[in-house]
Symmetry: C2
């Protein structure tokens, strides 16, 4: 049997960052930069005011105090966005709003809170032609944001490989970029297989069950950051599946960067995926659930992952083998979910010689919502699907918040044992 | 001045979970269940096979062993999805695939791995009419999944208030639901204001700067789980802003569950938001950045948040005051980002009497990508916008991974101090 890490490496080897595309700023959210953003201008472009107040000469107000106000004649008015350049000379000031360029001659900004109009009837502000009194000194350069203080030509504003979030979008806009160059979002086809499957909500004849895997995997694909093309369920006729997979690989369903199937990969007499697909390597992986796995590259180059059909097996296999590959296609270097140490609150036997991916909950089974931490800060975890290995217990999977990774050489988990857990 | 927590409570009081809507399973991803999902049937619906093998009577094979095989005549074949009901009697077996209903008479399933065909020429499986030999005993009930083992009528499968992820989608599908009832996704309008703003990529005359706030806030709205309607920038003409806000409140831009503006709320002579909007309470909040805040409810009932215009102030204000309200509209009870304890790697002065929301990075400034943890597991954090309060330093905001929350009574952060941090 192939080890968990070995199979994970094989599946990651099928994935590479997708080609770069240029998209609008909001369309870049959740994608990964494929190129650095280097600014070609200074930011801010002009010395500008950090406050609402009056641009003036610091020397003029060097002795200003509440009981010794210094009067300045207001010779101009600069709203933010104004292109005016009124000149400040000794004894004068220009009213200026936050962000407006500091006018020629001025070397500081007096915040309005440190001034008062000579004519108290005009309100807080002295208008152009009026007189303002400074009641406190300011240093040269006070409340002036210097040109280039935030960025200078050639500065690296954003780095290739960054996952784009709101601050990246804002930084790009602030240096005048309306677009970003990112790795294209993967589009992943999902196919559940099996004659027993009917669409949820349809009548269930004897022996039939609702298809949940195509929904599970399509949702997981989207949660991973890709677009899901949900297809199927297909029947147990190998020709039907073979034709669908060939059409996906040929581009007849648009761009498809990967295909995920569920079911039909075990030792059954009718295992449709095994029967239909050539060029796919079917292997036993030393993991529970999720032992029967397949992966390969179709003739057209499309990677394919064939997961087992038990819903919990599909879910765990997707987390272990497909999600990292999708994250790699997105352009991420770190494709793993962060793991942390937790404490087992119950115990269970584990399969000999196989690693285990156990769905766990972080909340008390009898007290929903309560996350308990020990004195060491570690959380306690319980099996989400208690009572048996439970790989078919899809309705209980919804209480799981994560998976515990139990190494192959651990024969048993006992209450109090430390477990490596990641949230899903 | 109003305290940070007091203002946060005021803004949360403006928000309530939005009405319930019924949506398709994948459209429910990232939304919050507005109703429990209670199954009205048993799951699985029939006793069914957990393995590929042969349904038989455990008593028949009680003495089976490799050197004492027990021969059983194969009287039927049950693929998954089959509606057939071949009866098993003593001395017979029915070939059965995983998931197929256990046929009448059988009380256990022999995995194919514990059998061999009497005629070794036929491959792994004996066909109908042939004979299979059991080479190992199984207990009654072995490899049979019992009807109702996963869920019984009346069982709570999903709980109102849950954030829908892949496992919730799968659980709903597995009990035959094609839709889920969730709180409607909020649609939030974003308006940046100011005569100085031009669209990113447009030429910049003197005094003008690219609009980054509408992009920042629209991206943040989407990251919070809502849909963003990005408008503006609008000018410093109060009539223009007043007309736009009234149109949004009247429903002329479709459903709008909240409005966020940036800029024009300080002490300036032309502060357009303050001039334009009545019914909005403008307050000073004891936080840095983000002191000038406004909030209220428009005549049509639409909540509005008016944030300051410095990009870092807008970002921090959104995190502190708007994001929790959006999360509440989504239907979440726990609307806060999780906080953790970190260690300050550099030091800085903080404003007297005001809490501080400092953008921080978790990676070494000189060694990008390296997150360092101390022996106690705590990460070190650095100011993202080093050198000044930096509330305009939007290009540097992109290196921040989170915000440190420094309480109002802390006069100074020193290297080694413990800080409360949340990731953004």
């Amino acid at each position: 049997m192939r080890g968990l890490d070995e199979h994970r490496a094989a599946t990651l080897a099928l994935a590479a960052p997708l080609p770069a595309v240029e998209v609008g700023l909001l369309d870049a959210l959740g994608l990964v930069l494929a190129a650095d953003v280097v600014t070609d201008e200074v930011l801010p472009r002009w010395d500008n005011s950090a406050m609402d107040g009056y641009a003036a000469l610091a020397a003029d107000v060097a002795r200003a105090a509440p009981d010794a106000p210094v009067a300045l004649r207001v010779v101009g008015d600069l709203a933010a966005g104004s292109a005016d350049e009124p000149t400040v000379v000794a004894g004068t000031a220009v009213r200026i709003m936050t962000g407006a360029p500091v006018p020629p001659g001025a070397d500081a900004v007096l915040p309005v809170e440190l001034t008062r109009p000579a004519d108290p009837r005009v309100g807080a502000w002295a208008e152009v032609g009026g007189v303002v009194e400074a009641v406190q000194r300011v240093e040269p350069g006070a409340n002036v944001r210097r040109a280039g203080e935030d960025a200078a030509p050639g500065d690296l504003v954003l780095t290739a490989g960054a996952l784009v979030g709101p601050a990246h979008v804002a930084a790009a806009a602030s240096v005048g970029r309306a677009t970003l160059v990112v790795h294209r979002r993967p589009r992943i086809a999902v196919i559940s297989t099996g004659d027993e499957l009917v669409a949820p909500g349809e009548p269930l004849p004897r022996g039939r069950i609702p298809d949940s895997n195509s929904w599970l995997l399509a949702a997981a694909v989207q949660e991973a950051g890709a677009t899901a093309l949900r297809l199927g369920p297909t029947s147990d006729d190998p020709d039907e599946l073979r034709a669908l997979v060939a059409a996906l690989d040929d581009g007849r369903h648009g761009t498809v960067d990967g295909i995920v199937t569920s079911g039909g990969v075990s030792v059954g007499a009718f295992d449709v995926v095994k029967a239909a697909l050539t060029g796919v390597e079917f292997v036993s992986v030393a993991v529970q659930p999720g032992k029967p796995q397949g992966l390969g590259r179709l003739p057209g180059g499309t990677p394919i992952w064939t997961l087992p059909g038990n819903p919990v097996s599909s879910f765990a296999s997707f987390e272990a083998f497909v999600r990292p590959a999708i994250r790699r296609m997105l352009g991420l270097v770190d494709v793993e979910r962060p793991r942390f140490a937790a404490v087992a609150a119950d115990g269970w036997r584990t399969p000999p010689g196989r690693a285990q991916l156990m769905p766990v909950r972080l909340t008390e089974p009898d007290e929903p919502g309560a996350v308990r931490r020990g004195d060491d800060g570690r959380v306690r975890v319980w099996r989400a699907t208690s009572g048996g290995s439970g790989s078919h217990l899809v309705a209980r999977l919804a209480v799981a918040q994560g998976l515990a990774v139990v190494p192959a050489d651990v024969p048993e988990v006992r209450p109090g044992d430390t477990l490596e857990v990641f949230l899903t």
